[in-house]
Subunit: 497 residues, 4 copies
């Protein structure tokens, strides 16, 4: 694509303005989308309604700039719009549903008035589009697990030790051998671009500047290469940069996943995090209720949002590429595809944790997908306690991460005291994107302050001093299973089926 | 009743327009109701106010078409209204109370926006008549049990097992040897016609089309024969149809019950479900507060709604035919009346479950009548756990069903994991009738999706893989009695009368 | 006081219209209140503002007719108002506070729409005067015990036994050998006249007509003799009448209590109930906040309401006659005063229950004064369970009554199953008085229906079949102390003063 | 400063009206603040905006009268304003934020309508300035501990013993050998002048008049000498005065703390209370959100409020002088500075309590800083129970105080029964200051009445009769750790940094 592209007059473009002959202008380039439109994951119509028009604005709301040339290839580039002949934007008729993308014209409070993750959430609920808010905030069916994830942390009390010199406090730790400034990371979450045009790239830059690990989702709005590139552009030396992990959903077309893993490895990503708690999508009713308007597509997975007879559930429809046949045996297949450390995300009981240990994986993330997969699945902190009861040796064999419901430095510190290597936060980082990279950095600073204050208040100066003795877990201990099976675990009668 | 019925002029009908001489037209037929009116369970006046008029509309709101000829016999048929002489409908004066039957003129949201049982309930609360809503939704006194029924399920957490191939999932199972597509059924509930003119017939057709078992109430709005017929009309082969069960309230006039049981057996019903938890009606205050306007009658039981000095409690007044003397010894009497399998519905403690087992009944339904009989009676899921503690051998001897408070696929799966053969839902099916048969089918599809997703999320592909190890019951275990008697179970002092 | 009283002209009365010379007309009689006014427990001013006027209306709102002649004696009767010279009622200036006595001009719903104690309470809250409502409904400080009293009952679950012949159910029992129709009674409560002019007399008549025991308070609005008389007037035979008990607050002037006990015994009362949980009045802030307007006086105790610098707390100010020195040793003194059975009301732990047993009293009432004495004192049902744990033999030695928070037939039946002989209800009976005697009878019928239905639902036909096995107490068992002392019950350090 | 100060004309003052040459008049004295203004902790501008004006009013709102001469020294006193030449007050432009000091022009209800600490709190929330309310009422992050502090008390039930002579009740006790009238004291709290111009002096006078101990904060609005003096002025004999304790925050400049301790000892203060639970300030978001307007300074500590990029958190910014390096070893240093008894405030687990015992300190105050330091830190009452479980011998070795969440006489009595020597209340005393000294005395009378009534209700006449047997702690016992370490207290894996 060079300056030698032919100039095309607006009047010429306007002749190709129907389904069978569909030219569209994006960022001054004229593309022939006739062949592609029927394959558009967001639906044929969301392209053809722009035929013969300038669709730059709507394209940018959904897609990374690099997507168009990559997807169509140079043969579909007709040329460059003659700048002297402006082309109108397609004027959509008055919408019958609420718009679903882009930010709403609501004024955000100044960033320095945001004191906590709750403040970020509050702003997000008012300024994100209804569809983005529904997709990010929703959880499975009655949302009991989403609530429990957070509320269980409040039932853990600290047992502070006092009169120690806590002037200097370090929050540094390592994750799989990589130094990080803080014991928390960005949990993988889909489609960060819905909150901000820079999406995962803004997250990556914010994390890099603060030494925080980021785990990128297969369903990210940008290709992993661009996200890695976003940090490299910053010019920081590789040695000082915090690690980037890559979350994997196995594609029904396994070859695609293989290629992706090879690409990821080549890009210098430090570990692969295989999600195991979402063989199918959870039922998130808030997400279903808000119709998806245009097409949203995750470049890596190819997952696309849309609507069907069950509603507009973005998680469900985008997740349709995910292979529900993945089994323990497939761990070997993944290992053959790349040499990176492997972490399993979504472990929810001691039995599976032990299985992971026996398979020799490098870490497990105790998680219930933010309560988005199965309602009344157990909060990670309960599973963490279950490991202490059922298989304490696991803490010496692998790293244990925790996510779900973490909103405060106190939550983070409790998880660390109870044996977690590090903890992940998902939604809070998405919400911070309402302010772009600056929001991400502000969120990290808030949490860092909270972690440091909490450490000082219980008498710690480094994280390796943390241990369960600093936490009173008695209010939740009765909920923790002590065996891998239920005391009533007799088989159901053979009379069945 | 043939075409040879004499034609009657409207003017002739209008001459018989008072209490002592009362002709009424229904569906074009002229009936003499003079003798019957004083016996009308809905009250004399609700008939005589229509004397000399066409009462088709109001009749249909309350009664099945077959009721009139069956009740009156051919001798009361005067003839056929001459179609050339239209007869006006009785214009009731402006009502002094809210109307109690028929649907309200509130627009229902499109069926495809209904995502859950909660949505159906919400629509029902706004579109059913106040009386119907009060009758269906009400529960005994302070409604603690109705709440507990549902809330206890939320306190059971799953213990998901991951990384299994869950692409193909089967929800098939058997109930008393009959194949069904899903491990839930329609619990018996009275007077489905209050929600929809097709009432239990719409339920039957919806269930038949989806392979779901239905248990028909003695207090159904249609005779059991018509309900059986409704499915047969659909032309589906007997072998593929899901089973129909019949719920029995023993009539104070035992001979009527005997006749009914013989009829039921002859109709091909697969089992009889004897309700044992309602020797008298519970006190449902919401139901009492809304006056019953016309007469509602259950054709099978003969139970009729109305008002008395205590209020308009439909459950109470309709239930007055129920025999409160039924004892364990009467099980033998029922068995002599028919050869069908027998299930006891309403068992609420291990001691009675064991008694049932010793009596050799084929199944028990743990139930508290949807919280409608006795407030603070135990939720079925607690009784299910009690069986594990007190008499685990029972699971090999008979089938155990559970109902009350089940609103989600997760609830269903938990009950199955804990040993239930299948579970019943009552109110949700009544609420789905606001959309007729289509609503019933939509509800079944919703629950099916939820069950399948939940199975996949915990790692099951067939229901016979389910066992208690998939459920963490620790949050409710302390509520489960471990013995049949109370530790303080000393007799009260002999001084007592 | 005869017809020979001199006639007094209105103009003559009007001459005695100030503090130093104060005549007042009540029910057509002219009284000289000059000497009495300064001693008026309701305050001087509340009398003198009516000087020279007809005060019949305000007098009747507060006092029984018999009070005036009894208190003043015949010497203060000036004569009879000449009926031809009407005397105006004192027109009070617009009030600066809300009126506190008499019913408000709010229309009550028809009695047959009242279905429960909750309905009675709701009506009372809207129709009683603010002062009456505050006095009746208030409880100590933060009202935790008032709430717990009721909520603990909901946490007890039934364990119903089914398939028993429950057609005929008897609610009869005996209390200290006296037959009663129902296992509940009217707990003693002060000043029933604030709700209805017939006060305790209406309660007595309602109870007599329904076979329910009544326990009359020392602070009743009528002398015990009048209450006994109210029933006798009804002409019912002594043998068929339910027993009347008398609640005693010991007067600081012990001689007055002695006289009262002798009077009570002579009147045929069946037992004396000594209140032991209120040596001083509890702090009921709602009661304090509403100023007492006129004077209210309990004829038996002489206790009077009023205002002081702490507020208008009727319970506190009226209770000032109560002797806080009463000790176990005084039990003997009471026994010397009369031969009636003796019950201690307000026992709140096993240790005191055992003490009562050792003293040979005839019964104890587990009670916390409706939560009005000490906030966070234990609900009676907990103490009842404590007796089972700590001294089960007590149930064979004496009768145990329970009150506090009982609002449903289910509550009553649970207490009976757990060993109570009978239970008391206080506030519900006061609230029922908004409808007078008819309200009392309606309340009794409601509770009787609820008790009978509950009995049938759990499989009882007589109360002596009740035992703890019908109740699942597991949800509250952890709250029940198993020893008389605390595990940490070391003495506090001697260093303490 | 004498009468010989030169007279200065207003016109002369007005010539020095800018940043570089800044004279200001306070209480008729002319001061040169040019040099001091840049060091003003409340900010330069809050002084210079008053240059050339009379700033008496604003000065008095923030500072004690003695502060100015002490801080500036006599050399900065220009002279006395010529009274014949009045100088205007600086008219501030309309504020852009809410004012933060002084009381709002909202009418307070009469003091005799205040019945409880809750009433005082309610009035304070409506009449204090937003900043004062935010500073006083706020607590750390999500305020769980602030809530728990109070709610745990409600879950302790009494076990009253009855039929004891409770006419005479004494609430006297001793604290470290000093007689006090009541077993509660004023917990140290910063900046009482924000609620009332007399601040801690009003507290001191109120306490002295009622025999209540007061513990003065390092961050008091007045120098300790003035507070001591305020009581001495009252002319009460030393022997009858209740003791005054002094709370210490160690200054980063240790010499300042040494001087302060020596001053305190010389003033006759009875004990030093070292705060150990706030090495840094907690994160109190309500406090951060309300900007501080002018400068507030604690004379003893030198701590000053203000705003920075994190907000206006007064606790945080004022606390910046606190030394976070203080360790157990520094106890010896403090002892070398003075001979007074030493109490450690903020102990939160048995291990630290034992350490304090081994160090031979005289008492410990179980406290979590009113929930202001670390959210989900344990309520003091839990720690008190932990001492009974883990080191009961401690009750014989030292005095144990408790604060946090105490709002009722019942709370106080429970703590005493469970072994506390006395309990502290902080916020309630600050709130009572809305009414000045009279409010303080009214609060003490309220609590005294509540304590006495509670004692009578459980059968106590003196506090040394109290013991744990009077309290049922079963509802919270499960939360109390029985060992100093957690059962899962294995070290975290060595792999950690």
């Amino acid at each position: 694509m060079t300056n030698e592209e032919p100039l095309v007059l607006a009047a010429e473009v306007q002749k190709h303005a129907n389904r069978e002959d569909c030219w569209i202008v994006v960022e001054g380039k004229v593309w022939d989308l006739t062949d592609f439109a029927p394959e558009h994951p967001g639906g044929l119509e969301s392209i053809t309604e722009h035929a013969g028009h300038d669709a730059t604005e709507v394209y940018n709301a959904f897609h990374a700039p690099s997507l168009l040339p990559t997807t169509l290839g140079p043969s579909k580039l007709i040329g460059k719009l003659d700048p002297s002949t402006p082309l109108p934007t397609y004027q959509k008729p008055p919408p019958t549903s609420t718009p679903q993308l882009g930010t709403q014209p609501v004024e955000k409070p100044p960033l320095d008035t945001i004191l906590s993750t709750h403040d970020f959430e509050d702003v997000a609920s008012r300024t994100l589009t209804p569809k983005t808010w529904a997709f990010y905030s929703s959880a499975a069916t009655d949302c009991h697990t989403r609530s429990l994830n957070n509320s269980l942390f409040h039932r853990l009390l600290f047992r502070p030790r006092l009169l120690r010199n806590v002037q200097r406090v370090s929050t540094h730790t390592t994750i799989l051998g990589h130094h990080v400034s803080l014991p928390f990371f960005v949990s993988p979450a889909a489609m960060a671009r819905m909150a901000h045009p820079e999406g995962e790239k803004a997250l990556a830059r914010g994390c890099a500047s603060r030494g925080v690990m980021q785990c990128v989702s297969t369903n990210a709005s940008f290709p992993i290469g661009e996200i890695v590139g976003a940090v490299a552009e910053e010019g920081e030396g590789e040695g000082r940069r915090p690690p980037l992990f890559f979350q994997l959903y196995v594609n029904r077309e396994r070859a695609k996943s293989e290629a992706l893993l090879r690409e990821v490895e080549a890009l210098g990503v430090k570990a692969v995090v295989l999600t195991v708690d979402a063989p199918v999508a959870g039922k998130r009713e808030a997400d279903e209720r808000v119709k998806a308007e245009g097409g949203l597509r995750a470049p890596m997975s190819g997952g696309e949002a849309g609507n069907d007879k069950k509603g507009g559930g973005m998680g469900r429809i985008m997740g349709s590429f995910v292979d529900p046949t993945v089994r323990w045996e497939d761990i070997e297949w993944i290992r053959r595809c790349m040499k990176l450390p492997l972490v399993l995300k979504g472990i929810q009981c001691a039995a599976d944790a032990k299985m992971a240990m026996e398979m020799g994986v490098d870490g497990i993330m105790l998680s219930n997908h933010g309560g988005r997969s199965l309602d009344t699945s157990p909060p990670a902190i309960l599973v963490l306690l279950e490991l202490h009861k059922c298989c304490p040796e696991i803490f010496d064999k692998m790293e244990i991460y925790v996510d779900g419901g973490i909103r405060r430095g106190t939550d983070i510190l409790k998880a660390i005291c109870l044996g977690a290597t590090a903890v992940g936060l998902g939604r809070p980082f998405l919400y911070s994107l309402a302010y772009g990279q600056e929001g991400v950095e502000h969120l990290i600073e808030i949490l860092k302050d909270e972690v440091k204050t909490s450490m000082r208040m219980i008498g710690l100066t480094t994280l390796d001093q943390a241990h369960p003795g600093y936490v009173n877990t008695l209010d939740v201990d009765y909920l923790v299973p002590g065996t891998e099976t239920h005391p009533y675990a007799r088989r159901r009668p053979k009379a069945r089926l």
